[in-house]
Amino acid sequence: MVTVTQPGQRRTPKAAKTNSVAKKAVVAVTGIIMVLYLIAHMIGNLKVFAGRESFNGYSEWIRTIGEPVVPAQTTLTIIRIALLTVVIAHGWAVVSLWRQAKRARPQGYVTKKAVAQSYASRTMRWGGVIVGLFIVYHILDLTMGVVNPEGPSTTPYDRLIAGFSNPFITAVYVVALVLLGMHLRHGIWSATQTLGQSNKRREKTVNLFALVFSVVLIGGYLVVPFSVLFGLVG
């Protein structure tokens, strides 16, 4: 390419090692996998309404899928490794794109107004970070039990009841889940767009679906802590 250098022309651009759209596709695909997991997780959570036995049994079943063909915990471990990979990939791609965006505009505007941006789209990054931290806390709390008021050596059901009986813990879960809902609200639309499945005709439907889906899913999650808090369960 013959280019006559002029001042005001940017320095030689860094060679792009990766492709921003491919990265974005990684975000979308990993996001979709996590959404599928979230659906399963939410349905599993509802077992709490079937009582202590059923809930703990479900927890036990997850750990013994495939026995005796494979040893205990195998399937769960595979799921965990897969999920961890997905989370890391999601995070890596997002951070990489975030840094690219930072580099793309080092000097911000003195005055800048958002015209189309929604609260959900604006909070994707920090919201995502908060949700990520929440997941760590959530695993320490309910899966491993190390930060649970009841401690690790109890059943999942007991830990759940113990945790959500505390309004502060419930509040943490509610805030995080609402953030997650907003994350999904924009994320689902964005993934459709990123994977090239959106168009003018579908745009409204996709957005409506993203909204309804997010509300239903998060509602499904929230019903558990609230039921515990208000004594409907336990």
Binding site: M1, V2, T3, Q6, G8
Partner: protein
């Protein structure tokens, strides 16, 4: 003829068109007889192309594809900004897709007649032939022309023709065609055949040993003035409507490249031929910086009128029918509101001169859609003209569905330009001129949808085939800045830049430009008279003198400085304006866009004088003080018979 203002030199003639064969065979014959540069030698020939509009962009891309080393120059940030982008209507081609009797010969005939018999038959015929290939080329590039439901290309009819031969892409045909050429050009830049010089303005032509060998250009960002050499130079720098300050041209459109080439020896042909478009949005105030054209298709449904009484400032909707003068329908009962551009423009001027104009300053006439809306309903009008109505509302803040539009003519295109032969070569060997910058195909009046056709014909098909004949003699040897003729050109440009910055007077370049534009509009605009032109010729040197003693250019030379750029362009307009007036004064006939008050029929229609003026006026530059020299190229009409136009 007022001989005091110019001298008469030897006649001039085109020698390249093979007139020994019938007109339909001349272009293929010329291509066969022209010498070629073999493909391996093409990369040893360098061509400079100045301008990246339809003509320059397509020429640079095509020459690059052919294997020449091309250097492309433009003053915008991107080649895509050239003002071809603003053309709305369409592009003509003799495809006869409508089976309505169109043919190459008919397009040729319509164009010669539309040009009021002041163009060269050979060139126009070639234009008509090539038009067919342009559409093929553009479609192959992906230009999204309007299509019908069957997937075929759509056509519409345009003024001056009785067939539907106009291809279009909504109201943005120029934009889409330009992007086609631009993309082809960028592709060549990517492969390295075309070297790009963005934001670089040509300020002089380098002529060495009688050949055009390069240009002096200023980098508009660093201010650096430098030389660029080549074996041939192609100017595709557009028209000079901005000599009128207010025109539909872009703010940056200028005459500098062709004017400097003229001063280096290229003859300037028919500078007084300017086209004035009747349907533009009127001027609102002295601050106004440009005029906006609206497609003349509006006249299909709009009725033009002014109040019968002068000074009637009532709301137009309150003026009763019997107090309105639908003057075009009154004067031209058979064509009515659809008379050609020049006639519609001049009559608008006449009613305004009578004091019956409307709107601020009394320079406007109504274009009323009330009847059409009543007859067809508002939705039908919206579907047809919605984008134009929106544009009007955006600019004026008035709702044209409710109150009549106000329109006024504005300068739009210049048919004059540097004289070229059939090969598009100017009187300086090695200097080729294409597109609106040359004079060649439109005579005294251009038909609608023909500008795009000519720009692309020149750039894609004509120049790349004719330039080889010249380059076959090359390469013409290396040059550097120490060559005396190069050093003189370079020094001259640097001196002018310094001069402009050092005057340090009290008036901005824009104020001189406005003053000149007003003068030209009043005295060398829609109607020209000996008295007015003489007045202009007295006044222009005075303005020019004041400019060089009282202009104020602030800022530095070594940085981007739009005021400095503008000042240089105004300086050239101040010289060109004088030649335009001389040309207008010497041509004591009315033809096409040139209307002389002294040459009209008893009914006030334009009256051509074929006995005296059936020639191209090619002007040779002489240094200040000496009058310009007129060289006449006689126009002979072998195929289209001379006839007076009538639209009554």
């Amino acid at each position: 003829m007022p001989l005091d203002l110019f001298a008469v030199g030897d006649p001039i003639a085109d020698t390249k068109a093979p007139t020994d064969v019938p007109i339909a065979e001349r272009w293929s014959t010329r291509r066969f007889r022209a010498r070629l540069v073999n493909p391996a030698n093409r990369r040893k020939r360098t061509v400079i192309v100045v301008g990246t509009g339809l003509a320059g962009g397509s020429a640079a891309a095509t020459l690059g594809e052919a294997g020449y080393r091309v250097k492309s120059f433009w003053f915008h940030d991107s080649p895509r900004r050239a003002h071809s982008v603003a053309a709305q209507g369409g592009i003509n081609a003799a495809k006869n897709y409508r089976n309505d009797g169109d043919s190459v010969h008919r397009l040729f005939y319509d164009t010669v007649k539309g040009g009021d018999f002041r163009s060269r038959e050979d060139n126009v015929h070639r234009l008509a032939e090539v038009s067919v290939s342009i559409i093929d080329q553009c479609v192959a590039q992906g230009v999204p022309f309007a299509r019908e439901y069957g997937g075929l290309l759509d056509n519409r009819s345009f003024g001056g023709a009785q067939v539907s031969r106009t291809f279009y892409a909504r109201g943005q045909t120029g934009q889409q065609l330009l992007y086609g050429a631009y993309q082809a050009l960028e592709r060549q830049m990517a492969v390295g055949t075309v070297e790009q010089h963005a934001r670089t303005e040509m300020l002089d032509l380098i002529v060495v040993d009688g050949r055009a060998r390069g240009i002096v250009a200023r980098d508009l960002i660093t201010g650096e003035v430098s030389t660029h050499f080549a074996d041939a130079v192609v100017l595709a720098t557009g028209g000079y409507s901005n000599v009128f300050y207010l025109s539909t041209n872009a703010k940056g459109s200028n005459t500098t490249a062709i004017w400097r080439a003229h001063k280096r020896g290229a003859y300037f042909a028919n500078p007084c031929y300017t086209q004035i478009h009747p349907t533009c949005i009127p001027v609102k105030g002295d601050y106004q910086s440009k005029l906006t054209l609206m497609s003349e298709s509006l006249r299909n449904d709009g009725r033009v009128w002014v109040p019968k009484e002068r000074g009637d400032t009532r709301d137009p909707r309150e003026i009763p029918e019997d107090e309105r003068d639908y003057y075009l329908e009154r004067i031209y009962p058979s064509f009515g509101n659809l008379v050609p551009r020049d006639i519609a423009s001049r009559q608008a001027k006449n009613v305004c001169d009578e004091g019956r104009g409307v709107g601020p300053g009394g320079l406007g006439v109504y274009l009323d859609f009330a009847d059409a809306i009543g007859r067809l309903g508002r939705p039908a009008i919206e579907a047809k003209y919605g984008n134009l109505f929106d544009m009007y509302a955006q600019i004026t803040g008035e709702d044209p569905y409710e109150t009549p539009m106000r329109i006024y003519p504005a300068v739009h295109y210049t048919m004059g330009g540097l004289w070229v032969d059939y090969d598009l070569q100017s009187t300086i060997p090695g200097l080729f001129v294409i597109g609106e910058a040359n004079f060649s195909d439109h005579g005294a009046n251009r038909l609608g949808a023909s500008a795009l056709m000519q720009g692309l014909a020149d750039g894609y098909f004509v120049l790349p085939n004719t330039i080889g004949d010249y380059l076959a003699d090359g390469p013409f040897g290396p040059l550097d800045d120490t060559h005396p003729q190069v050093a003189e050109a370079l020094g001259g440009v640097q001196a002018q830049v310094q001069k402009l910055l050092s005057v340090n007077g009290t008036r901005t370049p824009a104020s001189f430009h406005r003053e000149l534009g007003r003068l030209m509009w009043d005295l060398c605009g829609m109607e020209r008279s000996e008295e007015g032109l003489r007045k202009a010729l007295d006044r222009i040197p005075e303005i020019r003198h004041e400019f060089w003693t009282n202009v104020k250019v602030s800022g530095e030379w070594d940085t981007i400085n739009p005021t400095l750029e503008h000042a240089g362009r105004v300086a050239d307009f101040l010289e060109l304006a004088e030649l335009m007036c001389v040309d207008a004064l010497h041509r004591n006939e009315s033809c096409g866009g040139h209307f002389r008050a002294e040459s009209q029929t008893p009914e006030g229609e334009a009256l051509r004088d074929d006995g005296e003026y059936a020639y191209v006026a090619a002007w040779e530059y002489t240094p200040e003080g000496a009058p310009p020299v007129l060289h006449r190229e006689a126009l002979e009409y072998e195929y289209v018979h001379l006839a007076q136009r009538s639209y009554k």
